[in-house]
C-alpha cells in the first residue's frame, strides 16, 4: 500500500525544485567519483612544489602543506567517501532491517532482546558512541565504518519493526501463512514489499548523517590514514595550517554538498510518503 502510494506520488515529488537540486548535485558527485582519474588535473598523492599555494591557475583549489593539488584530492576523495558511505547505509539497512523485521514478526523475547539492545545504543549520543567504538577497534577507515554501523542499525530496526507490526496481522499476510507459506517466504513475499518504500526514504536521509559521522571520525584521526584523500582527514590537516584557509575549506564544502544533496532528496521523498509512515520516520531519524 505504501509502495503504491510512494510510486504514485513520485512524479510529483520529482517536480519539486529541492528534489531536482538534490538529484543534480548527487549526479554531479557521482560523475566526479567515477571519472576522477580523467577529471583530476594532478595526481592526488604527488608532492610537488609549491607548497601551500593559494588557489589560482594551475591549482584551482591551491595546494596543501605537502604540495599536493587539493582539487585533485577532493575529486579522488569522492571515490573514498561516497562508496564507503553508500556501503555503510546499505549494511545498516540490511542489519537493522533484518533484526527489526525479526523483532516485529516474531515478537516475544526476540523482540525484547533486539529492541533492548537498540535502546542501549540509543542511550548514547551517536558521535560519542561511534568515537568510543572506533577508538576501541583501532584507527582505520574499515573500523570507522564498523563504528558507524554500530550506531546506525537501530534506527532501521525500530522503523522496520514498527512497519512489520503494522502489516503482520493484515489479512493477506495471515492468509499467506494459512496457505502454508514458510516464515521467510511470508516475510519476503507479503511483508517486504510493504515496507521497502519508507525504509528506502530513511536510507536516503541517512546517507548524509552517515557521511557526516564517517568524516567526523576521520577528522578525529579515527578513520582514514594520512595519504588517503579522505575529506574529513583533509579538513583535519587544514587545522594545522590555519591561515592557508583553502586546505580545509574545499574538502569541507565537498562534504557539505554531498550531504545536502541527499538531505534534499530524502526530505522531498519523505513528504511523498503517506503522513503516518512519514511521521514514524521523522521521529526515528533523530
Amino acid at each position: 500500500m505504501t509502495r503504491v502510494s510512494l510510486l504514485g506520488r513520485l512524479p510529483e515529488a520529482w517536480r519539486q525544485p529541492l528534489a531536482v537540486a538534490g538529484a543534480v548535485l548527487a549526479l554531479l558527485w557521482l560523475v566526479v567519483a567515477l571519472a576522477a582519474p580523467w577529471l583530476a588535473p594532478h595526481d592526488p598523492l604527488a608532492q610537488e612544489l609549491p607548497r601551500l599555494a593559494p588557489p589560482g591557475p594551475g591549482h584551482w583549489f591551491g595546494t596543501d602543506q605537502l604540495g599536493r593539488d587539493i582539487l585533485s584530492r577532493v575529486m579522488y576523495g569522492a571515490r573514498v567517501s561516497i562508496p564507503l558511505t553508500l556501503l555503510l547505509v546499505a549494511l545498516s539497512v540490511l542489519v537493522g532491517g533484518l533484526l527489526g523485521a525479526c523483532a516485529g514478526y516474531f515478537g516475544r523475547w526476540v523482540d525484547e532482546t533486539i529492541m533492548r539492545v537498540a535502546d542501549l545504543v540509543f542511550a548514547f549520543p551517536t558521535v560519542i558512541l561511534a568515537m568510543v567504538v572506533a577508538a576501541a577497534l583501532g584507527a582505520s577507515l574499515t573500523n570507522a565504518v564498523l563504528a558507524v554501523l554500530v550506531v546506525a542499525w537501530p534506527a532501521y530496526a525500530r522503523v522496520t519493526r514498527g512497519l512489520v507490526l503494522g502489516v503482520r496481522e493484515r489479512e493477506f499476510v495471515l492468509s499467506g501463512r494459512l496457505l502454508g507459506f514458510s516464515v521467510w517466504r511470508s516475510l519476503r513475499v507479503d511483508v517486504l514489499p510493504n515496507i521497502t518504500g519508507p525504509v528506502l526514504v530513511l536510507a536516503t536521509l541517512d546517507i548524509g548523517t552517515a557521511l557526516l559521522l564517517l568524516s567526523g571520525l576521520s577528522f578525529l584521526g579515527l578513520g582514514a590514514k594520512p595519504p588517503s584523500p579522505e575529506w574529513g582527514a583533509m579538513v583535519a590537516s587544514g587545522v594545522e595550517v590555519f591561515d592557508s584557509w583553502w586546505v580545509a575549506t574545499f574538502p569541507g564544502l565537498a562534504i557539505l554538498t554531498v550531504v545536502l544533496a541527499f538531505n534534499f532528496l530524502g526530505d522531498t521523498l519523505r513528504d511523498a510518503l503517506d503522513p503516518r509512515t512519514a511521521r514514524a520516520i521523522k521521529e526515528r531519524a533523530l
Partner: protein
C-alpha cells in the same frame, strides 16, 4: 498506587537499568576488542621486556578473568573511579570533573539558542505554510543539518576571529581577567555571582561563536520538527473552534497551539541535547574550549582508552538523565502518557 507514581518508578528503574547497560557497553568495548592496551601504553622498548609487560598488566588488573575485571570495574565506578588517563597520568574522574562544567555551559547555551530560534523559525514556517518564508526556512534548516560541524567551527574561527577580529579567540574568558571564583563552574554564572560584569561580558563573548556553531544543527532539527508539530495542532478542531469564536490570533497561537505543540518539541529537545554533547567533541578542539569535548578529542587522537571510555560513560549518563527528566516532564504535563 496512583498512575503517576507508577509511571515515575518505572521510568527511574528503566534508567538505572540503562545506566548499567552503559557501563557494560564501555567495559566490553575496552576489553573485548582487538586494540591492545599494552601496546598502546608502553613504549617499544618496554614491550620487548616480558617482565615490564606482566607488571603493567597486573597493575591494571588485566591478568584476572574477564568477569572479575568487570566486577572490579563496576566497584571502581561506584566509588567514582574511572581509571587513569594514559596521557595525563591523572584519574579520569578528576580530569572529567574539571572539564564537565565548561561543556555544560557551552551545550546549555547552544540548546537555549536552538530552542529559541528553532521554535520561532518552526512557528513562522508553519504559519506561512507553502509561502516563500516557509520554503526559505526549509532550505536553511536542511543546510543546518548538512554542515559538518568540525568544518563550520574552523571556518567560523578563521573568519570571525582571525580575519575580521570581531570575536575573541580561544578559551572561556580573556586571560587578563583571570576568571571569576569558581562556584558553579559555569563562567557566566560565576561572574554574575561575583558581580563582575567585565568577566561576564568576556565570557559571553567567548561563548557566542562556539555556541552558534554547535547550535546550527539542532536549530535545523527543531525548526523542521516544530513546523510539523504546529501544523498538526493547527488542524485540530479546538483550534478551529477558537478561531470561530473570534479569539485574537496571538491568543490562539500561544494559549492553544504552542501549548500542545511544545510537548513533543520538548522530547525532541532532549534528543537534540545529545547531539549537542556529541558536537562538542568536534567543536571544542577548534575553539580551545577546555571541556570534555576537547578532552575526548585529545584522548581519541592519542588512543587513550580509559579517558575515551570515561567520556562515553559520563556523556551517556548525562544524556540518560536528561531524557529521563524529559520523559517525566512529558508524563506530568500530558496525562495520556503516564496511563500507557
Amino acid at each position: 498506587m496512583p498512575p503517576l507514581a507508577r509511571f515515575l518508578i518505572r521510568r527511574v528503574l528503566l534508567a538505572v537499568l540503562m545506566a548499567w547497560g552503559i557501563t557494560l557497553v564501555t567495559f566490553v568495548l575496552t576489553n573485548l576488542v582487538p586494540g591492545d592496551p599494552v601496546a598502546a601504553n608502553l613504549g617499544q622498548r618496554a614491550l620487548g621486556d616480558p617482565a615490564i609487560v606482566a607488571q603493567w598488566r597486573a597493575e591494571h588488573g588485566l591478568d584476572k578473568p574477564l568477569w572479575q575485571q568487570y566486577l572490579l570495574h563496576l566497584q571502581g565506578l561506584v566509588q567514582g573511579d574511572l581509571g587513569t588517563s594514559q596521557q595525563s597520568h591523572r584519574p579520569v574522574s578528576q580530569d572529567l570533573a574539571e572539564f564537565v562544567p565548561a561543556t555544560l555551559e557551552l551545550a546549555g547555551a547552544a540548546i537555549l539558542v536552538s530552542l529559541v530560534l528553532g521554535v520561532a523559525f518552526g512557528v513562522i514556517a508553519a504559519l506561512r505554510r507553502d509561502r516563500l518564508s516557509d520554503h526559505a526556512l526549509r532550505v536553511l534548516s536542511l543546510v543546518g543539518i548538512s554542515v559538518p560541524t568540525f568544518w563550520l567551527a574552523l571556518v567560523a574561527f578563521y573568519v570571525f576571529f582571525y580575519r575580521l577580529q570581531i570575536t575573541p579567540g580561544s578559551g572561556r574568558v580573556d586571560a587578563a581577567l583571570g576568571g571569576a571564583p569558581a562556584v558553579t563552574g559555569l563562567q557566566t554564572v560565576d561572574a554574575l555571582l561575583a558581580g563582575r560584569w567585565d568577566i561576564f561580558a568576556s565570557a559571553v563573548g567567548h561563548l557566542i561563536t562556539p555556541a552558534l556553531v554547535l547550535a546550527l544543527y539542532t536549530i535545523g532539527l527543531l525548526t523542521r520538527f516544530t513546523r510539523s508539530a504546529v501544523l498538526e495542532v493547527l488542524g485540530q478542531d479546538y483550534v478551529r473552534a477558537a478561531r470561530a469564536k473570534g479569539l485574537p490570533g496571538r491568543t490562539i497561537l500561544f494559549r492553544y497551539v504552542l501549548r500542545s505543540a511544545l510537548v513533543p518539541i520538548i522530547t525532541v529537545a532532549g534528543l537534540a541535547f545529545g547531539s549537542l554533547l556529541s558536537g562538542t567533541v568536534l567543536v571544542e578542539a577548534i575553539f580551545a574550549w577546555p571541556g570534555i569535548g576537547q578532552y575526548a578529542y585529545k584522548s581519541a587522537t592519542t588512543l587513550d582508552l580509559p579517558a575515551v571510555m570515561g567520556v562515553g560513560l559520563v556523556v551517556g549518563i548525562v544524556y540518560l538523565v536528561i531524557n529521563l527528566v524529559v520523559d517525566v516532564l512529558y508524563g506530568v504535563i500530558d496525562p495520556r502518557v503516564r496511563l500507557q
